[in-house]
Symmetry: C2
C-alpha cells in the first residue's frame, strides 16, 4: 500500500524539514534535490524513506547542519575536502563541483572527501558532470554490511560506483551500481514481503549461503558482486575495497569496519582511524581526449549498437545503463511518486515533531 505524491509536495515537505534542523536556505534546497532525485529515479531506498534517518543523525549530533566545507590539500587536478560533518547530501555536490572546476582547468579533477555522511544516490553527483560535457565518477563507502570472500566479518559497505558518460542525440550512459550482488534496498523489499532472497545474495553468520532476508540481524552479511568465489566474488570484494580506499584511505575518513553506521541508534565503532564517512569524485572533460563532437558521435554509435543487439528469448530489449531509472523518472514526473505507507507514517511522525504538514 502506498500514497502518490507530486514531486513538489515531497520537495516542500523535505526542504521544510532541512530548514527546521538549521540548514541554510541554499543547502536545504540542494539536500532536497539530491535526496528526491532517488525517489524520482525509482531508487526508493535512498530517497525520502531516509529523511527521518538523517534527522536522527542530526539529533545525535552526528550531522552538522551548518558545515564549513574546506579544502585540506590540493594540486591542480586533485583536492581533499573536509565535509565538517555536514549532510552528505550537501557535501557531495559541493565536492563534485570542485572536481568539475579542476577538470575545466587541467582536463580532469579528482576529489576525496573525509568527515561526511550518507550522500543519497551516487548518480546525482556523477551526473552533475554531464552538462559540462564531462564524464562523472562518484563512489562512497558505507556502513559495513558486506563480508570479503572467505570471511564472516562485515568489513565493507555496499560501496557503490557511478560512472556517467554524456552522449549526443542519445541520452547519457549512467551506470550506478553497488559492488554487491544486490543492493541493500533490494533486500529491504524482500524483508517487507518476507520473501526469500536468491542464493548468492547473503550468507549467514558462519559463512553459509542463506536465503533469509533477515539474516543480517543474526550476524549474517551481504555478499560481494559475484556471490561466491567460483562466480567471482573476489572481484566484487576487490571493487568494494577500491571504493573504500579511494573514499577513505586517500581522504582521512573511516574505512572498513570503522565506517559510522547510518542508523543513529547503532553505537559508533571503537578505535576509529579517521573522520566520518568518505567519498570520491572524478570529472573528466571529454574534449581533454578528443573533440567533443567526435566523442558524442561515437558514443551515440556505441549506444545504438548495444541497444539494437539481438535479445535472448523472452527479453524485449537490451538496456543501456541508466535506461531503467530514466524511464522511471519520465513516469514519475508525470504520474507522481508512490510512497509506501510505512514511509508515509514515518514522515507524518516527523512532520508532527516539527509542526509541518506532509501535504
Amino acid at each position: 500500500m502506498s500514497t502518490v505524491f507530486s514531486f513538489q509536495q515531497l520537495f516542500d515537505f523535505t526542504k521544510s524539514v532541512f530548514l527546521k534542523i538549521g540548514c541554510p536556505e541554499e543547502d536545504a534546497t540542494l539536500a532536497t534535490n539530491v535526496l528526491l532525485s532517488a525517489d524520482i529515479r525509482g531508487v526508493d531506498s535512498h530517497g525520502i524513506a531516509r529523511l527521518s534517518g538523517y534527522v536522527r543523525l542530526w539529533e545525535a549530533k552526528r550531522v552538522n547542519a551548518t558545515p564549513v566545507i574546506k579544502i585540506l590539500h590540493e594540486t591542480p587536478s586533485t583536492a581533499t575536502v573536509d565535509g565538517d560533518s555536514g549532510l552528505g547530501l550537501v557535501v557531495a555536490p559541493k565536492a563534485m563541483q570542485i572536481a568539475i572546476d579542476k577538470a575545466n582547468n587541467v582536463g580532469t579533477g579528482w576529489v576525496s572527501v573525509q568527515n561526511s555522511n550518507h550522500f543519497g544516490i551516487a548518480g546525482y553527483h556523477a551526473m552533475m558532470a554531464l552538462e559540462h560535457d564531462m564524464i562523472g565518477i562518484c563512489m562512497t563507502n558505507a556502513s559495513p554490511l558486506v563480508s570479503p570472500t572467505f570471511s564472516v566479518e562485515r568489513l565493507l559497505g555496499t560501496n557503490p560506483i557511478c560512472v556517467s558518460i554524456p552522449a549526443g542525440e542519445e541520452p547519457p550512459f549512467v551506470a550506478d551500481l553497488a559492488t554487491t550482488t544486490a543492493a541493500n534496498g533490494k533486500l529491504e523489499i524482500l524483508q517487507r514481503k518476507n520473501a526469500e532472497a536468491p542464493l548468492g545474495w547473503i550468507q549467514d553468520k558462519d559463512g553459509h549461503p542463506s536465503t533469509n532476508p533477515h539474516e543480517l540481524k543474526n550476524g549474517g552479511a551481504l555478499l560481494p558482486l559475484g556471490g561466491d568465489r567460483e562466480h567471482g566474488s573476489h572481484k566484487g570484494y576487490a571493487l568494494g575495497a577500491v571504493v573504500d580506499i579511494f573514499s577513505a584511505v586517500l581522504s582521512g575518513a573511516n574505512y572498513g569496519p570503522w565506517v559510522p553506521p547510518f542508523p543513529a541508534y547503532v553505537p559508533m565503532p571503537t578505535g576509529m582511524p579517521g573522520k566520518g564517512i568518505g567519498h570520491f569524485f572524478g570529472a573528466m572533460r571529454v574534449d581533454a581526449f578528443r573533440p567533443a563532437s567526435e566523442f558524442r558521435e561515437h558514443m551515440d554509435n556505441w549506444i545504438r549498437r548495444f541497444r539494437s543487439a539481438k535479445t535472448a528469448g523472452g527479453f524485449e530489449k537490451v538496456l543501456i545503463p541508466g535506461d531503467p531509472e530514466r524511464e522511471m523518472e519520465a513516469e514519475r514526473k508525470h504520474a507522481g511518486i508512490p510512497v509506501l505507507q510505512a514511509v508515509v507514517d514515518d514522515l507524518k511522525t516527523l512532520g508532527e515533531k516539527f509542526d509541518l504538514p506532509l501535504v
Copy 2:
C-alpha cells in the same frame, strides 16, 4: 604435462623472437618483461602461451614492430596516444609512463590509447605507478566474447580493470580482474581438461545457461560478472561497458563488436569505427591527497585489518587482492616456470621458424 623453465631461459627466447620480427632492442626487452610478468605471476593464459599469437599478428601485418608512438591530444592531466599499431606490450607501458609524468606535474595523469594491440596483463602497467608512490589504474578492451545482459550477441571483451595501490610495510594492493564471471584463461583450462564449467560463466547461442566450456565455438558467450540478472550481471555488463568506452570511445579506437580479434586467422570486423584496440591508464599521486607517510600508514592498517578478518569455516585466511599472484611469483622465481607441453611444442615450432633454440 609441462616442462619447467627458468625465467632467464624464457626471457632469452622471447626477446630473441621479438628481435627477429624487427623490434628495436629496447622494445624487445620491454615487451619480453611485460609478457613474462604474466607467467611469473601465474597468469599463464596471458604470458608466453600467447607469443606465437603476437608473431602471427605481425605476419598478418596487424602489428608494427617499429611503431612511432605519439600524443594526438593533451591537457595538463590527460593525453590521447596513437600506438601506431605497435605491440600493446610496448605501447601500454609507454602510455602509462605518460600518465605517471602527468601525475608528477599536476597530481594525476590519464591516458587513453588508440591503435594498439593486446597488452599482456593489466597488472604490469598499473603496478608501474607503485614505485612512484602513485595509485595505478589500467583497463583495456578486447575481442568481443561477452554478451550484455538480455542479449545473445557478443559485444564486449573480458575488459579487465586493474587498480594497484601502494602501502608502507605491507605489500601493495593489486586488484586485476576481468569484468566477467570468469576470465577466458579459466575457460581454456576447462577446455583442455574437457571439464564442465560452473553455471553462470557461459551461455549458449540462444542465451540459455551452459556448462560446456566449448560453447563459444557454437555461438555462445561468456557472461558478465554476476552471471545472470538476478545476481547482478547488469553490473558486470556496465563495468565492461565503462572499460570499453574509456579505452576506445575516448581514444578513437574500435569498440564493442568492432574490436579486432586476437587470433590473426579470424577476419577483421567490417565497418570498424576506429583504430586498433584501446586502453586507458591512470596514475594518481598519493601525496596529491594527503602526505604519503600518512597514506601508507593507513593503507597498512587497512590491509592488516582485512588480512586478519575472521574466516568462514574451511578457509585459512582472507586474501588481499594481489596476494595469490605475489605468492606465485615468489614460488616461480625460486622454482622456475612450468610451461604446458602444448605451449612448449608451439614455442619449438616458433623457434624453428626463426632458427632459435628454446633452451
